[in-house]
Structures are given as C-alpha cells and as structure tokens.
Symmetry: C2
Subunit: 346 residues, 2 copies
C-alpha cells in the first residue's frame, strides 16, 4: 500500500488533503493510491446538494454539517465550482460561511475544480468521494454551484440528492426545476419565510404529480418494490421513492432538523428496499461506463497520439469528415493493441 | 448521397427538421447523413449565447435574429435545455418569445435535449450545428440555458461566445461569471436601465483585468499575433482578443446594434489574424478529441458489452476496484480488435 494511502486510511487529515490534490491534478501515483484506497471505501453516505444560484445551498450545507457533527459523525464536504481559470475553484463568501467548521478535526472541506475536461467534473467528484470515504467519513456532502448537465451528472455519483429552491426566482428557474426534478430525492424550499414560498411548494408538488404520470415504472419494477425486510419504509410508494418537500430558513436554522430527517429516510430506503438496491446497482453501472469512456480515451491518446494529431489536421484541411476520422482512429487504436492482447499471433 | 442530405443541402427546411430529429435520437442513417453533409459545411458563423438564468438570453437572441434577418442572412437557432425527462426539452415561454420568426422561411429554430448522456450535449450541439450549416445558414445561434460545465463545453463548439449578465443577481453569480469569463468573447450587460448596471460593468472590467495578469499568453503566442493582412483588427490587443462589454436593454431593442457589431468584430478577428486562426485550430483539435472519446466508448460497448456488464457486477461485489476494472476492459477491447486490424496474424 502507498504510504499516503496508509496514513489516510488511518485517519490522517493532512494525508487526505495531499491525496485530494494529487487526484485533482491527475499527478503522481494518484491512480495507484485510488486502487489502494478502494477496499477502505463503501462506508460513507453521500449527499448531493444542488439548486439554482442564490437559493442558499452553502448556508444549508453548513447547517447540515452542524447537524451531523452534533451526532458525532465525521463529515466531508466537496464544493464543486464551475471551472475558473483565475481561481482554480472557489472565490466565494460561500466558503467563508463554512469556516465555523474549519478547526473541527472531524470535518474536511475542499473545493474542486475541473480543469475544463468534458465529464471531468463528475469523474473528479467520484474519485474524491471515494478518497474521503476511505478516510472514514460517515457523511460526504457534495455541493454543486450551478444547474447544468454536469451538475446532473454529479448527482448521479451520490446516494441522496437534495435540491434547494427559493421563492420567486423567475422563468428559467422553472425550466431548471424540470431538469433537476429527475434527480431530486428531497426538496428544500429555503427562505420559506419569504413571499412566494407557498407557490414554490405548490409548483414542486404539481411537477412531482406530473412526473409520476410520465415516468410510471414498468410492471416489472412495480413487482420489485416490497421492502427487503417486509416492513414498509417511509417515503417508499409502490416501489418508487417519493421525494419529500421540506420548508426551511437556513440562515435561522428553521426546518433543518426536518430536512436532515427527510434525507435520512432516503438513506433507509436505499438500503432497506429492493427498489433502493436496484437504484444503487443502476448508478454503479452508469458510473462504470463513464469511467470506461475516460480510460479508453487516455489509453488511445497514449497509443496513437500522433495519429490523432494527424487526423485533426486532415479534418481542419477538410480532407476527411470528422465522423470517418473518428472511425479510423478507433480502428487504429484497436489494431495497435494486437501485439499485447490475447488475440496476438504466437 | 442520402436523399435527405441532398434535399437538406438544396435548402429544404422539412428535410432539415427530419435530419435534426434523426441526429437527436441517434437513429437511422444519421451518421451516414452527417458524413454526407460535411462537404457542405464550413460556411456558417456560429454564435453561442450563455449566461445566468433570468439574464434575458432569449429576448436578446430574438433581437439578434431580427438584426441578421434585416441584413438578408439565413439564421439557425439551437436552444439547449437541461435534460428534462418530462418535456424532452423546452417547456418555456422562452420559445414563445421567438415565435415572431416562426413563419420566416429563412429562420430555423430548434430545441435540443441531451438524453442524459455525459458530454452528449456538446456532441449533439456540434452535430446539429453542422447540419444547420449544411442547410446554408449564414448565422447559427446556440442558446444555452444554465451555467454549468456542460454549457462551457458547448461554447467551445462555436466561433463566438456572448455572455449575458444582468444587474443584481447575487453571490453565486459572481462565481459563475468567473467560470464563464474564460469563454466569453463579448459581454452583454442586459437590463442596463436597472440599478446596479454600472456596478456589473465595473465588475466585469475588473475581472477581465485580473484575467489578463493570470492568463498572459506565453512569449511564443505574443509573437504570432500580427494580423494576417498586416492591418490592425479591432479588438485584437497584442495577439489576444479583448472581450467588449456592451450595455443593452433587450426588451426595448436598445444596444442591440452595438452588440451585433461587437460580435462581428470578433468574427473578423477569428478570420483575419494569426491568433484567431490559432484559436480555430485549437478548438477543432479539442472537438476531435471529444468525438474520439465518444466513438471509442460506442465501439467498446459493441465489441465487449458483456464484459463491461461483468466488470460492473464485480465492482458492485467489491471483487475488484473500478480503476483496475477499467484498465482490464481497455485491454480487452484492444485485443478484441486484433482479428480485424492491421496487426492481425496472417
């Protein structure tokens, strides 16, 4: 085992920070370390927190950290920022809001950037979740700033997704709600002391009701819903998880207990029902396909890098279309492996 | 040539709509059609419009369509929405705002969804840009809702990126600005009749100034900046493009002419300077690497699909870590191609 991995698994927070940097930068022995750490993972419960800008995600994250710390749980927080070439990550007051946990030895907070790689965000997040998990965090919170496709991908790497909305945030926000409805396991209507909170709750309820009609599970799934224990699980409705909507005022701490409890109910569903187990399997398969895609490109660039560059020049010169060029490169990559693979000539 | 491709290149809008659907769904002969269409592409100027929710992107897009139509140009518009399982795309009033162009035979407007695939958004957008280009659009506008990594990726598939901001949109918005600063070629400060517009402009100016310090080009780049024509190009500052900040009120049409002119200056820079040519080459190379990654995964799933499923089961059962599993799958894919490739045994 790599010495850093050994220290990290033993609970050394400085080793944890160093490994996070290695993973972020894709440098050094990071892949070896990730392999070493894997047997120590699988313990943490991961919570994704997402929502539109200004909804109060960071303040709510801060409250949830405090809630779990009060229960003696070790907490990791990963803050995902849009790629910023200027800061390499967080530039915000958001981080400052979480500083009350800065001296707590049982809380690890880190911002992560993405270096602009397509799909790099969810990959980095997945790797870092495993790293913090191996440090024996009980809870890992992944907070995303932004509401795009990439954030949706990140929510697929966590166990439980909390979507935070706030009253009165305009037209586009409605669209975003539609986009993230799919991934939400729990909704927080934050700033619920403000005008428009009731409307926001009603809107979510309506969208959830519409969603049921459209995404009713096929018959096979319905049959698979019985809790493994035989006992009913809160939030489980006919083999489907029913997202709860919780009102809160994060700045005042109002509703935080209800919210944390609603999130815990989802964790129980994931581990206590057949449907929850099925979802965990699906998510894992999806993540594996994404990792495979990245590994394939890395290997291809190593094996046929110069051919890739030549293809780029040919497409730029309009000698070949990009689709045929990609087909040719795939063929070249596969045949380049024939000497090393099981299909090699004797 | 595929009959649909033939009709599309001849300017048939119904054929265009059908090809867009085929590409969106990944169905039928879409790849053959894309290959057929490629020789007809390369004419359109592509403009990406992005920014935070509520900044007024759609209204501005509508104004820019009208501006180009007044100059007799054929216009395509692609609206990128976050994946919505309920709507498969747009649910918004945004589209309605553009309906005044709905009967114009020289304007093609289409929403595109992403089917949830990682990186699928920028790939679909790139394919559809080429399709609309082949229809002989002079200008293709790609409007993205949202501000995540995925939208950043889309902006890398266009020639010129306009970032729309509006006064007074809070903390998170500042972070987003930092993230999209990198990709912005022009800024519109929309709703500039509102309080806070001056502050928004100053903030952008400050961030641009900071950005120059951090991202000053290496010496080799500086030497390559001279305009190809020998004449100076507006917006070119020492071989670097200097983003312009334009105030406007999209709903009233104020500032639209200035904005369209600023965008055109960037187009001239792209085609009239060495630095612009270098940027076009870089973008193309980046796009090719992304397309290659997608093509590799498609080919791998076809070639070793069952092995991928087995690997997922082994990772789920914690028999192997996901990193080693991905390495094994890459090796299996490469050796599976040995019978067909140039390295095959005689």
């Amino acid at each position: 085992m790599h010495p850093l991995a050994e220290r990290l698994v033993a609970g050394d927070m400085r080793a944890l920070a160093r490994v996070c940097r290695l993973v972020d930068d894709g440098l050094g022995a990071y892949r070896t370390i990730l392999k070493d750490l894997f047997p120590a993972t699988g313990h943490a419960w991961t919570i994704g927190i997402t929502g539109v800008p200004g909804a109060g995600k960071s303040t709510l994250t801060d409250q949830l950290i405090a809630w779990h710390r009060a229960r003696g749980r070790r907490v990791g927080v990963l803050c995902v920022d849009p790629t910023s070439p200027f800061t390499g990550g967080a530039i915000l007051g958001d981080r400052i809001r979480m500083q009350r946990h800065g001296l707590d030895e049982e809380v690890f907070i880190r911002s992560l950037a993405t270096r602009g790689a397509l799909g790099g965000l969810s990959r980095s997040a997945a790797d870092l979740i495993r790293v913090v998990d191996a440090w024996h965090a009980d809870v890992v919170v992944v907070e995303t700033v932004g509401v795009g496709q990439d954030e949706l991908e990140v929510t697929r790497r966590v166990d439980t997704t909390l979507v935070v909305v706030a009253p009165g945030m305009g037209d586009d926000v409605q669209a975003i709600k539609a986009g993230i409805l799919e991934c939400a396991d729990t909704f927080a209507v934050n700033k619920s002391d403000r005008e428009g909170a009731d409307a926001a709750v009603r809107h979510l309820e309506l969208m959830l009701a519409l969603g049921h009609e459209v995404t009713a599970p096929p018959l096979g799934h319905v049959g698979a819903h019985a809790p493994a224990s035989g006992r009913p699980v809160a939030g489980d409705v006919g083999g489907r998880w029913e997202p709860q909507i919780v009102r809160c005022v994060a700045t005042a701490g109002t509703g935080v207990d209800e919210l944390a409890t609603a999130l815990e109910a989802h964790r129980v569903w994931l581990h206590g029902t057949e449907a929850g187990a099925a979802r965990r399997r699906e998510r894992l398969a999806e993540a594996m396909r994404q990792d495979l895609r990245a590994a394939l490109l890395d290997a291809a660039l190593r094996a046929i890098g110069p051919e890739v560059e030549r293809a780029v020049a040919r497409v730029a010169g309009r000698e070949i279309d990009p689709y045929s060029a990609a087909d040719e490169l795939v063929a070249a990559f596969r045949s380049s492996g024939s000497g090393a693979g099981r299909g090699a000539a004797p």
